[in-house]
Amino acid sequence: MHNSSRRGFMGKAFGAVAGVGAVGSLVAMKKSWDPLPSVKAAGFTTLDMTIYPEGELITEKWRGKPIFVLKKTAEMIASQTESQKARSVTVGGSEFMIAIGLCTHLGCIPSYNPAEKSFLCACHGGMFNWAGEVTKVPPPRAFDIPPFKIEGNNMILGEVGPEYKAMKDSGITL
């Protein structure tokens, strides 16, 4: 009896030590798979917003993702609905449609058709209008807007400015 309780104690003590070790190594394994600091540090891009021509879609790159930049024409601004206006970003007096160029369904890059002023996602047939809103499912929501901060005529992607924060709080973007 004496012996077996000693064994029992050793078993439990070993279990406790091994348990601590196992949890510790799981933490290490999880963290090893996190994006590297160098990857995170490269996560900022500055755009000079004065260079964009009106009414033409330009694709920039941020964190390996395409970023759609469309300087709105006067005509577009005039025809904007309330919800489209809420998605609009103003820098240096001009209005822009700015969005992560990945379909909100499964992440393909929709292509822009300048004649129809709309985006078509070839993967599952989703469609968006020039303001970035869904006009045909399956995409569940409008294009996401990348975190941005406005500084003069520049826009810094990856940093959160007050304009972006307001959009996020009002649920315009995720």
Partner: protein, 404 residues
Amino acid sequence: MAHFTKATSVKDWLNQRLAIEKVEKVMASEYWIPKNINFLWAMGMILAITFALLLVSGIFLLMYYQPHVDFAFDSVNYTIMREVDFGWLWRHVHGVAASVVFLVIYIHMFTGIYYGSYKKGREMIWISGMLLFVTFSAEAFSGYMLPWGQMSYWAGMVITNIFSLGDLHLDGLVEWIRGDYVPAQAFLTRFFMLHVLLLPLAIMGLIGLHFAALRIPHVNNQDGEEIDFEAESKKYLDGDKAGSKVMRFGNDFLSKDMMVVGVFLIFFFYLVFYNYSFALDPVNFDPADMLKTPAHIYPEWYFLWSYEILRPFSVNIGLIAFGFAQVIFVLLPWLDRSPNVAPANRRGAFSIWFWLLLIDMIVLTAMGKLPPEGIFSTIGLVAALGFIILWVALPFITMNEKKV
């Protein structure tokens, strides 16, 4: 210490140290196989051989492949295909085997379903087999990433996005899996590790489990007959080979197995030498471009049916349907309520269910390949609903099955 005597032969020397005679008995000469089984039972052996082909060709590819986003594409398409002597052979063998192995897995699976080989006593064989299927799928997907072509990149993008789980928006989880905001170097290297080390190890372990699961309930047979293996094997060992219902695995049954394997290998190497391109997607011969999506994204043929179940619905419902399709097969032993272990053709309604399921999955596969437009979307939707309805109906169909 055991008692060792002076060895009379090399075999005896080994036998004293490794018990090779006992091993031979367990593995071959006294491993009993029912006599009434047909060529469909040879699929297991074909799978084992195909896995060996994948392993060997993979080792040769591994020697020249470079898991780096700047060099991966060229190391496959230039170095291995043009510079390495016979490099093309290993790549064709690897690519064709990766595709054909799924064809054989599906035949193996549907043979099991048709003859009721997943029923009472054999559940572990079925479960370990389904785990193997899942691991093979992960292995195939991670391998598909490695040449870093356009389809590799975008398949990686789309499939990892699934882990944000629709409206749950687990973007942090997706970034964690990728190790970056998009598939990039970290992603390529970790999928490389999964493909050449972790998943093959898991597969080998599961193959061991799959075989072990077979030892006690023994292999099923064409009539679903319950055989008393003890009595029958005794008959065989006592000399009544013709009267016994079982035979040795080695070398009696093995000769038949190898015959089927031989036919398979002729077909396989025909594909390798003359028709390898079916296994290599043309889109994947363009290097990965993160700013341009291919016009039409589709997975390899063997994933099309489950992809098509995801596609026709809105995101959340699609994901639920997709998840359903992934796990439902595992539950088959419990969803089939009938106690009959018999071929489907003797089981009435179940036989209709079996053929409907097979046809439905072929339709799903065809629709998954076609662009998601017009009538194809509709057929896809009907087939996806059909798939779900069939599985929900299974317990009710089999509950009232009469005893055969």
